[in-house]
Symmetry: D2
Subunit: 263 residues, 4 copies
């Protein structure tokens, strides 16, 4: 290859093209200033917004839009805080009325302390949203059967967890992420669980189209610097995936009965 083809020409979801393969959240920061600086450092072009938690409409209080301009970033409203299908659907309908957002992130979580995706409620909400002409990017378990079904229903992106939200445990089951990607015709993003740069790179090396994260940046000791780290990590992991890594081969036992392991 030459320098020209070294570019990565980005990815497409719901007809929208993005060069950055990093999608970031807008919550959990100390201030809106820190939010803005971190997102700028991340290079993200798409940001998710917890419409129940962020001020998007009251001009008498600081509004996210003043710091993270919707003219510059694609807003992806999400349903953080919704624990039923009804809540999730209602939340996104209100968001669409308020801001015109049609491309959305659906997440319906089970109860604390695990906050694992509630897949039955997720299917129910996805069905209602798709019937209502939303373009649905869907957060889900690392379950390839469920993932395929969500795609067949019409979801525009499949977003399996690396680990539960806020856990920072990384991509615990890379086999399932790879299985989901192997069969998908829509973009696959690892969403949740990423805690540091090497984990974001690893998610990309599995072949994912992009990575979505929030706490890894917002809860780092220096969020802006971690945002820069994540920007480079996602580029690194994408290039490494495209480049095709060297074989792992420890000569002490080349005949080891192992196929298809990842680490």
């Amino acid at each position: 290859m030459n320098a020209t083809t070294l570019e990565d020409d980005g990815w497409t979801v719901a007809g929208r093209r993005f060069r950055s393969r990093l999608v970031v959240g807008t919550g959990r920061y100390k201030s809106l200033e820190e939010t803005a600086a971190s997102i700028a450092a991340s290079g993200a072009e798409m940001v998710t917004v917890a419409v129940r938690r962020v001020n998007l409409s009251d001009p008498n209080a600081p509004m996210l839009q003043d710091f993270v301009p919707p003219t510059q970033y694609t807003y992806l409203p999400n349903t953080a805080g919704c624990h039923t299908a009804q809540d999730a659907v209602r939340t996104l309908r209100l968001a669409r009325e308020a801001g015109g957002w049609n491309l959305v992130k659906l997440e319906v979580l089970g109860p604390p302390p695990f906050l694992y995706p509630d897949m039955a409620a997720t299917f129910e909400a996805a069905s209602a949203l798709l019937a209502d002409n939303f373009e649905v990017m869907v957060y889900c378990a690392d379950d390839p059967v469920a993932a395929k079904r969500l795609e067949e229903m019409g979801c525009v992106a499949i977003m399996p967890l690396g680990a539960p939200i806020g856990s920072g445990m990384g991509v615990v089951n890379p086999y399932m992420i790879r299985a989901i990607k192997a069969q998908a015709k829509v973009p696959v993003l690892v969403d949740a669980g990423i805690g540091t740069a090497s984990e974001a790179a690893f998610a990309m090396e599995l072949g994912c189209d992009a990575v979505l994260l929030n706490s890894a940046i917002a809860h780092a000791q220096d969020p802006v610097r971690m945002a820069a780290a994540m920007k480079h990590a996602v580029i690194a992991g994408r290039h490494a995936y495209l480049a095709g890594r060297m074989p792992r081969d420890y000569r002490a036992d080349p005949s080891s009965p192992t196929t298809g392991t990842i680490r």
Copy 2:
């Protein structure tokens, strides 16, 4: 922090300052053109050269210097192919006479198939080289006692393996790399074992000063692209280390009796 302080001001070894924290090898490529293109894409400023294997002196054959200009890159002669202290010392003396190189990489390997560092021979060679006023960057086992002793002898950088040369197994024992770094006053580089971008980032997240690799680039299916991946990976890992990652915390069992584990 602000955009100004987001910079990483690099590292110093033997009084030389480098901005890039990636050191790459010059062997195992298909051609000298591929070598040059890959090194350029990696952003490396220091390159290691197996003086027994690379043509550095015969103007009638293609010379490495014509493709990787010593005016542009710091050459670090190494002792690849040497299995005794005597061989290693002799090799580096010849290299110094030929090219004036005083900053060198010492490696003395045990026999195949493991090619693990021969630490007794490494100590013997380091002692002779230091007595002869070489500046020695030393490849070694992930052994914190040996690492400290090599530093106390006067080695200018400690370079423990992540895994054996050419294995691509990654950083198998991150605890020992961290232990070596914790006590070192000279730079610590992970040298050998890195197979892909996330592993390079992980090495940097352990606090290492730099990473040295060769096969991961040269044996990738697309070496130039993998070189670009590694460039970003090392930047990502360094920023992540400086940024201070979020805690790992899986709420299912916050009282788990675990301290100090790394993944």
Copy 3:
């Protein structure tokens, strides 16, 4: 503790008491003789039977019952080979009519090559079987929300996968197995994925009540010896869980920001 209390008094499912915490399959062996010898060596008291694949009723062909006497082992009919809820329900109804078995193992798998549990179909089948007064031990994803719901519906045991059937990948996501166990009031068994003895012990150390496996024994080079290995592994893991392991503590970095990691 003293020698008396060193005993493990076993576990109870659906009112039946078992001393052995190892449940084994009866398929994939070279012969019924090997099946019988392996099961004997495993010490298992409960065996699962793929009623679609094993001859349970034709006296003109070798019958499982002649080798693995139902008077000695608790038979647990399973739905291996069923890919729809209807198939699974029909299969278990026929089994009950034929053999009177009311305690059953439900599994409904998605398509090859992944053979991951089809959770929507599993819920549908579980609902029908429970309404029909079956006692349902249910194979499922490592999804704590789904697991809790299956328990609330009335399933008598929750059996999350360690990894897909026949993969031998071990317990890939120990966090979720532990989460499922933490909230369960019925027995939790790791079912599928176990490949060797240390993995069975590890599953038990997570607090599971028992382990279910088949390929790990049947596909070992020496099934009878592997059955013996598994017998000891399950005992070892159970005692280790009850004994409370020493803390992991690597002093190189006692302040590492890590909570709740398992390995």
Copy 4:
């Protein structure tokens, strides 16, 4: 195979035959009563004794021999607490004079907090002890070059660490343990690092001849029960090794470029 051949006929070191593949320490317990009960539950036939820390000779104080009879157990004096070759050699000479013990365990540790083997001092001490006709079982780094050299010098068993003493981190680098075993003609024991039963089983599955541990039992919440767990774990791991495990094969990506990985 049949029930007869299911036996494991044990291992031999320095001409002595042992059925149990578990060697345990005698320190770190709350009382000598607990020491004795734990060792009995472990099934061990060989016990290591820190001759600097345990009362072996003062009849006015409780003596280890009264609780762990040397007529029943093979005592293996060790050099715990020695940080120089001279100290280690002197300690074992005194032990031999006092108790006649000729088969010994040599360990020379570097400084806290890492307590990693000091390999240079270990070689020096091994040389002196072998010259003095000791039979030396030697604790060492997971370094296959050093391990081979210790064997060639005449050590009767090679005992690489799984992880530093008292860390409970398990077998961190299984590749090197397997490499050491692959080339050894004397017994190889994993010594140090084992924290729980599955880790002991895993060490045995790598092909090791035996496992040596102390803290894993003594620092468990219930030492006697953990001792029983370890007894079963070592048997499980040995049988699993001999049985030949099923292949790992995750069908999502059978062409993954991976050879020789262990987990």
